[in-house]
């Protein structure tokens, strides 16, 4: 049965390519192809999960076997065509013209096709996931949430808005800067501003999301409110990527790399955005409501406040190397901003802002998040981008670590060190290493997907929004030993 379903899925995909090349009837091909793929994925998922959830090492596709490499290769080639050689995809893009015309009234672009395939994957693999975790309400509601946000906010609304307000740029409410690194680029801001009230409202909303909405939500629920409930990258990882989640690297080395890399990308995103905004603002009010100087003062103030908060107030939460990195970056940014205020140079960071923007968009936007992040799902697991690269995850992660109520609670002494939780952690957190010591888990990278709790055979783990204090419970002996209640002697030692 599994073979039949996977063949059906492949036929669906192939008919898209063949239909495109032969320019067959667009609507028919789309319907046939998407029906085949839906049936293939859902049917395969049913066969795979009707008795058991995982068993991933019994399957070549999910254990870096031959098929996994083939799939990885296909995905990478697809991303490279999409980003850099989209003319080769032209026959397929034309298939989507009628659909696009219905939605936005425009002919399809490569991004429209990508959006369709992306949303489609989240929906069908979401159904598979819903079946796999039947009986687990947390997983059900969370998955319906990512499916909803992807379909309505990322796919449907922007297309409709484009139809109703042709002059507003494509805007996905939930795609927040710095994940949405182009949000404050000149052409977008110009369009937002020139399209009147709604445009300015949206622009304000996007600023509010960064400084007000997301910190409040993260305080209450942890970074999961975004990363595993709302975000589109997370949505794909949780649904289509679920088969590959266990491939994440659990080593301490990978953890060290993650800590550095993700914050370097964040620094890059900040510098790039500051440079870009600086480059189009004027030194008077002729074009925008704020001047260059105002913007720089604002950045300087935020920079100073953050440095004070991180290095003074939350000092004990941060490791030494983290504090040094923050200090270095703060001085660098502050220095350039002061230089900007004094000298008003053409280029704030000496380089052309366009060079910075282009290299960010190429290296981070296309290569990292697309080719490596998604193309390599079958090899490195589903959250490579979210873990090592996403600047939004870096910010939310800091908030989670510094002031959120969120934590994963360990249930007393019940852990049997079986390793299921660590294996299925897509973020590469060694959950077991905490659970088997009776410690709660408070890690900035945790996206709160809840799978550790779902796969634990002994009911040890629970995601909780408790009080922010006391979340680092660290008993000496584990619960179940009378001496763990009376730790005086141990404490003295």
């Amino acid at each position: 049965m599994k073979k039949i379903y996977s063949t059906l899925g492949i036929i669906g995909l192939a008919s898209l390519i063949v239909g495109g090349i032969l320019s067959l009837a667009q609507t028919v091909i789309l319907i046939v192809s998407f029906s085949c793929m839906t049936l293939g994925v859902v049917g395969y998922g049913y066969e795979l999960h009707k008795h058991h959830k995982n068993g991933v090492y019994q399957n070549k596709l999910s254990s870096r076997g031959f098929t996994a490499w083939v799939l990885g290769l296909i995905l990478c080639v697809f991303y490279i065509l999409l980003y850099f050689y989209s003319s080769y995809l032209e026959p397929i893009i034309r298939l989507f013209d009628p659909l696009s015309a219905n939605l936005s009234g425009e002919p399809a672009t490569q991004w429209f096709v990508y959006g369709c395939l992306y949303t489609f994957s989240i929906l069908v693999f979401g159904i598979k996931f819903l079946f796999k975790y039947r009986g687990n309400s947390y997983q059900q509601i969370r998955t319906l949430s990512v499916m909803f946000f992807q379909f309505i906010f990322a796919f449907f609304l922007p297309e409709i808005m484009a139809r109703l307000h042709g002059d507003i740029p494509y805007y996905d409410f939930k795609n927040i800067w710095p994940l949405n690194y182009y949000q404050f680029e000149g052409w977008r801001v110009k369009q937002f501003v020139s399209s009147g009230g709604l445009g300015i409202g949206l622009l304000l909303f996007s600023v509010l999301s960064i400084f007000v909405i997301s910190p409040i939500l993260t305080y209450k629920f942890g970074k999961r409110w975004y990363c595993s409930w709302v975000c589109g990258c997370g949505a794909l990882a949780e649904t289509a990527g679920d088969t590959f989640r266990h491939l994440s690297d659990k080593s301490v080395k990978a953890w060290k790399l993650e800590r550095w890399l993700i914050h370097v990308v964040l620094g890059f995103a900040i510098l790039m955005t500051v440079a870009v905004v600086y480059s189009y603002l004027r030194s008077d009010y002729s074009k925008y409501l704020i001047r260059r100087q105002d913007f720089l003062w604002f950045i300087l103030a935020v920079n100073g406040l953050l440095l004070f908060y991180l290095l003074k107030i939350k000092k004990s939460f941060l490791a030494k190397d983290a504090r040094n990195g923050i200090l270095l970056f703060g001085i660098l940014l502050g220095g350039f901003v002061c230089y900007g205020l004094i000298a008003e140079p053409k280029h704030l960071f000496l380089l052309q802002s366009e060079t910075l923007r282009k290299s960010y968009s190429f290296m981070i936007g296309s290569m990292f998040s697309g080719v490596v992040g998604t193309g390599f799902y079958p090899i490195f697991g589903s959250r490579v981008w979210c873990r090592f690269g996403c600047p939004m995850a870096a910010i939310l992660g800091m908030q989670q670590k510094l002031f959120s109520k969120f934590k994963i609670t360990t249930n007393g002494g019940q852990c049997i060190s079986c390793g299921n939780c660590s294996t299925y952690c897509e973020m590469g957190i060694d959950v077991k290493s905490y659970a088997q010591r009776g410690e709660n888990i408070v890690r900035s990278s945790c996206v709160g997907c809840g799978i550790c709790s779902a796969v634990c055979p002994r009911g040890v783990l629970r995601l909780e929004n408790d009080s922010p204090s006391g979340k680092l419970k660290n008993p000496l002996f584990m619960t179940g030993n009378t001496y763990s209640l009376n730790t005086d002697v141990l404490n003295k030692k």
Binding site: N59, G412, G450, G459, K493
Partner: protein, 436 residues
């Protein structure tokens, strides 16, 4: 500097080593003939089913032991000279010795076979060590039909494992219901009907009589105690485990079923201790068995002995009993003592509350009918908080209190149904019926 040698690197031995390192500067050597690194025995089934790999079940990576200066010796202990304080070790045919100031025996268990005819045939096996896992991999490759003997926790794991490989499994259980030597009948009945759904080959009140073999000494079938013959190419024996201490019989260390110890884990020989599955308490704590073969007690013994050796004299003092298991997809947790019908005392009564019959969720609370004291709880399909129940048991709360405060003890993930109201209502009805 004292030198501590631990034989066995399971949960008991490894916990001991970890805590002794934290609390002292002893020189530590840990000997094992199985896996060079401590792995989780309880996860053997997940390796077989392809859920995790062996490396995923290691408690600590190799560098942990290096960093903490715990020397791992991969060899078999063959003999102990308690007067010279030396141990004879053997690895791949070569023998060598190591000496100790303190010696701890933590050699675990091994499967029990009841001398069935042909029990050494190819295709007949127990399930405890890594070797058994490998053997099962081999045996399962070509097997079409399997017979499992023994209705305990290892038996049910084997049933799940074999069914997953699409091997037709007959599961022979001597008792009237699955695990009713441990569970009260009301729980055992519900559990048995769930297991029968998952494993249609379940046969109750049936045991193994004879194993049939062919001329190559390969198993071809069994005859059961009910006289039925079943053709099969794999027989899994899960009729219990016993301490793995045969080699100690020739030493001067006193043994019975297990290594005999007092409350400080001391054997009859000075500076020789035993912990974990292989230990037999001469005077077990109240309501405890003298040999406890579970993960958690091994860990608690390891913690306590470290305290005893490094800080101050300490006795084995586990908190209220707790345990957990998973039967196919059904999770089970227990806190306190819910006795089986056979073992229960006169005043112990059981309140069972089925929360969701289609999805198999229920709890059973044991209480003292004279003074309403809460004795323990079994939960199936819902998760409960260990710390909360430990505290309630220590404070000897009444079952009225437990039922009224149930919300505090629920540990199911967010958005799961809160059953505390249902429990309260059912409990009221139960009390009215029973007139208590």
């Amino acid at each position: 500097m004292k030198k501590l040698v631990i034989i066995g690197n399971g949960i008991a031995g490894t916990t001991l080593a970890r805590w002794v390192r934290k609390l002292s500067d002893f020189e530590i050597e840990m000997v094992s003939d199985e896996s060079p690194l401590f792995y989780s025995r309880t996860a053997l089934m997940y390796i077989f089913m392809g859920d995790v790999k062996l490396q995923d079940t290691y408690g600590y990576p190799e560098v942990f032991f290096e960093k903490n200066n715990i020397k791992l010796i991969h060899a078999r202990a063959e003999h102990i000279d308690t007067t010279q304080k030396t141990i004879l070790l053997k690895k791949e045919g070569t023998s060598f010795e190591t000496s100790y100031d303190y010696l701890v025996i933590a050699t675990g268990s091994k499967p029990t076979f009841y001398n069935w005819p042909n029990q050494n045939a190819k295709g007949v096996q127990g399930f405890y060590h890594l070797d058994d896992l490998q053997e099962l991999e081999e045996n399962a490759k070509h097997a079409k039909n399997a017979v499992l003997v023994g209705g305990g926790l290892i038996g049910i794991e084997l049933a799940e494992m074999l069914q997953r490989r699409a091997i037709n499994t007959y599961f022979l259980i001597r008792e009237k219901w699955y695990w009713n030597g441990v569970l009260p009948d009301c729980d055992a009945q519900l559990l048995t009907s769930y297991i029968a759904e998952e494993c249609p080959g379940l046969a109750l009140e049936t045991s193994l009589d004879k194993i049939e073999v062919n001329t190559q000494n390969e198993v071809i079938g069994v005859t059961t105690t009910t006289g039925e013959s079943i053709a099969c190419d794999l027989v899994g024996i899960a009729t219990g485990v016993h301490p793995n201490i045969d080699w100690l019989k020739e030493t001067s260390i006193e043994t019975d079923k297990g290594v005999l110890i007092n409350a400080h884990f001391e054997t009859n020989i000075k500076d020789v201790f035993a912990i974990g599955d292989c230990a037999q308490h001469k005077m077990p704590p109240k309501d405890r068995r003298n040999v406890e073969a579970v993960w958690y007690t091994g860990r608690i013994m390891g913690e306590t002995l470290a305290r005893h050796l490094c800080l101050e004299p300490s006795v084995y003092a586990p908190g209220p009993w707790f345990n957990s298991a998973k039967f196919f997809e059904l999770e089970y947790q227990t806190y306190g003592l819910v006795s089986s019908d056979r073992m229960k005392k006169e005043n112990e009564i059981h309140f069972q509350c089925v929360l969701d019959s289609t999805n198999h969720k229920w709890i059973t609370i044991a209480l003292d009918q004279n003074n309403n004291t809460f004795l323990g709880i079994n939960s199936f399909g819902i998760r409960l908080r260990h710390e909360v129940f430990e505290q309630w048991l220590i404070e000897k709360k009444t079952s009225d209190f437990i039922v009224n405060n149930m919300t505090k003890a629920l540990f199911d993930p967010e958005f799961f149904k809160d059953y505390s109201q249902d429990i309260q209502k059912a409990y009221k009805r139960y009390k009215n019926e029973k007139n208590i």
